[in-house]
Amino acid sequence: MPDIYFKEQDQHVQAAEGTTILQAARDAGIIVESPCDGVGTCGKCKVQVEGPEGSFLSEEAHFQMPPELTAQGYVLACHTKVYGDITVIAPNTASQNKTLKILSEGESFSYSIDPYIKKVYAAPKDKTFILAGKQKVGEEDGDTTDKFYGLAIDIGTTTLVTALIDMNTGEEIDSLSALNPQSLHAQDVITRIHMASKEEGLKLLYEAIRDEFNNTIDELCKRNHIESKYIYEAIYSGNTTMIHLATRTNPEPLGQFPYTAVIKGGNTVSAAELHMSPFGNIYLPPIISAYVGPDITSGVLAAQLEKKKGTTLFIDIGTNGEMILAQDGRLAGTSTAAGPAFEGMNITCGMRAGDGALELYQVQEDGTPKTHVIGDVEATGICGSGLLDIVGELVRVGVIGKSGRLVKPERGKYSDVLKPNMKEKDGKPVFYVSKNVYITQGDVRQVQLAKGAIRAGVEMLMTALGVSPETVDCVEIAGSFGYHLRESSLINQGMLPEAFRGKVKFVGNTSKSGAKAFLLNQGVRTYMEQLVGEIKDVELSQDPKFQDVFVKALTF
């Protein structure tokens, strides 16, 4: 049986002949980042291989390895099969993801503390009863009523945010962010659904996130001197797919037309596999539709959308642009596939929002660009917010034309200071935004597709409720990603209509703040379970007008 030596991890792995390097790594618990789940499109699983002729064989994939990397022995782990002893150099990803910049705060409202779970001390027996609803689910010796905690968890496709809450006071004791470990196996939602349609894939993804939750709980307890057995409830707020995966539910029907959810939400499930009280449970907020999930339900709750006078548009900008339009208590929702461009994926110099990511780009009046790089280091890539900033600004100053074409210096009307930044790479125009970082024509096209999808969703939703952009009073952008955006870059590139200028407000992580409300007040649970049924589900894929609206929204 071939022996694979993973050098960076200093680990020998035995694998059957014909196993891919990626599979062998997974079986051994070594993480090789594979955002496309081994389909061969993303190229992120490239590793260096050393071994005699015939000990490994690379198959052709969609992703074309640049010749200079092939010369250095790089192969795609997902498309390379092992037939003899080899040495693999795969980067240790664990250390790279520590510097991610994630926002964990979100808008909220006031509510009374009346949790579903209660602790009551029975003096005659000297025991503390734990009640769920009004039912007794367990007891502890002595008076433990002062040790009463819960978790509000926002399960993002890319990031997890976990808040530890004191259920007696409602105070948020601490909060911890982490990378969603599933993203290392499968980056986007569709790839994850595909992977989890098979039992072994579901198991891998479920266990990865469960272990991460437990790590987070342990860390939160340790640094706040709390015992995890006094955590009684967790709220899972995330998109519909994430909730399926976190509860080990096969999400297959979500991946194919007519895209249906297996879970409906609005119920509790066992928390036996989490480091919590033996009487603990997990509450799943109600799901609006297959692609408008509990994170949006939490958002509607936190932003109190149904109570707002006038017209409010609520958007969570991410891989899926999920949005709710509220007009004097009438609500309609939809979601649109923006793709992973906003997370820096499929972008030549794209990266996550960690050290070295260019996150702000502004062309000043004298034509010189002003930039900011996370960690105040030399830029090594562009994160999602930086990408939108760059495109928004370049459209404004004319480096990018209305059709999305990069305008050559001799034809461009933009400032002479910017002209030297337009260079050629392999005969194609690229625009440098820092010494080593640039955007290509293809990158601009990716942004066009992504922003076009969001804009088309906004337009279709307004049409569904008969609302014109001018009558929208307020636009609330939710999501940790959204918080790093600027109104001007969203409007300059046409992701949002011009009429929204001056009305955009960034409300932060409402998935988490809403989850906190679900944790602390049982009344909002029944209230939201009912309200969700009244939200009009606007299904875009079935509307023949969608293509026209989308295509129109592609231009700047």
Binding site: T41, E60, A61, S403, R445, S541, F550, T555
Partner: protein, 228 residues
């Protein structure tokens, strides 16, 4: 004497001019201008069947090339198609007699489970502009419908689209259905879409993978030239 030879030199020159103008209007996405020129052609009695190829299709071929080179994007290509369609509408009542024979016949569709079809529509457009007869079955198309279309149209090739990893498995269903019905060897199968590749084509028993619309046309040209 035929009508052509009776025509004055002036008329022939005018037709040449209008033919070029129409082609340019299509490339320039000028829908109304294309319609106006087409009307002028018919009003002057200058319409000939070959204009469809030398003017309308020629304009679309230029547009397809610009799209492939990255000069044009989806909205531009679709606007060109709108202009071409507007001109064709004007010509339709005059389109008597022999149509220029297509280079071949193609059945295209997005496979079952997939409702994405903008990319597929672009490919269909470019293939049609490349001189092929195209039968577009739409989206979320079951394998049996592809097989029925193969029996009805006897295409040279079947083009399958899928944008999602969750639906690309249904491409294999189409291959199997054609095999089951004994029509698999009557046509080539080309697959395309974000998650698929040449190795996936091999795996499911399809013939080719086309990474883009231009590549699809080149494959078809190759398939049809070998056939004849």
């Amino acid at each position: 004497m035929t009508a052509e030879t009776r025509e004055t030199k002036g008329q022939a020159a005018l037709r040449e001019q209008l033919k070029r103008n129409l082609s340019d209007a299509i490339v320039e996405m000028e829908v109304e201008e294309a319609e106006r020129i087409a009307k002028e052609i018919t009003a002057q009695g200058l319409f000939q069947m070959n204009l469809l190829e030398t003017s309308v299709a020629a304009g679309m071929a230029v547009a397809s090339r610009l799209y492939e080179e990255g000069e044009y994007f989806i909205p531009e290509l679709l606007s060109c198609a709108d202009a071409a369609e507007a001109a064709t509408e004007i010509f339709r009542p005059y389109m008597l007699g022999e149509k220029p024979a297509p280079k071949g016949c193609v059945v295209i569709g997005s496979v079952e489970g997939d409702t994405h079809d903008i990319g597929k529509n672009i490919v269909a457009l470019v293939i049609e502009a490349g001189g092929y007869e195209v039968h577009d079955l739409g989206r979320d198309v079951p394998a049996s419908v592809f097989a029925d279309a193969v029996e009805a149209h006897h295409p040279d090739a079947v083009a399958l689209a899928s944008l999602m990893t969750t639906s690309m498995g249904h491409m294999a269903d189409v291959v199997q259905e054609l095999t089951r019905r004994g029509t698999r060897s009557s046509c080539k199968i080309i697959i395309g879409g974000k998650p698929v590749s040449t190795s996936f084509a091999k795996k499911i028993g399809a013939d080719y993978y086309a990474p883009g619309a231009g590549e699809a046309v080149r494959l078809l040209d190759d398939i049809c030239s070998r056939r004849s």
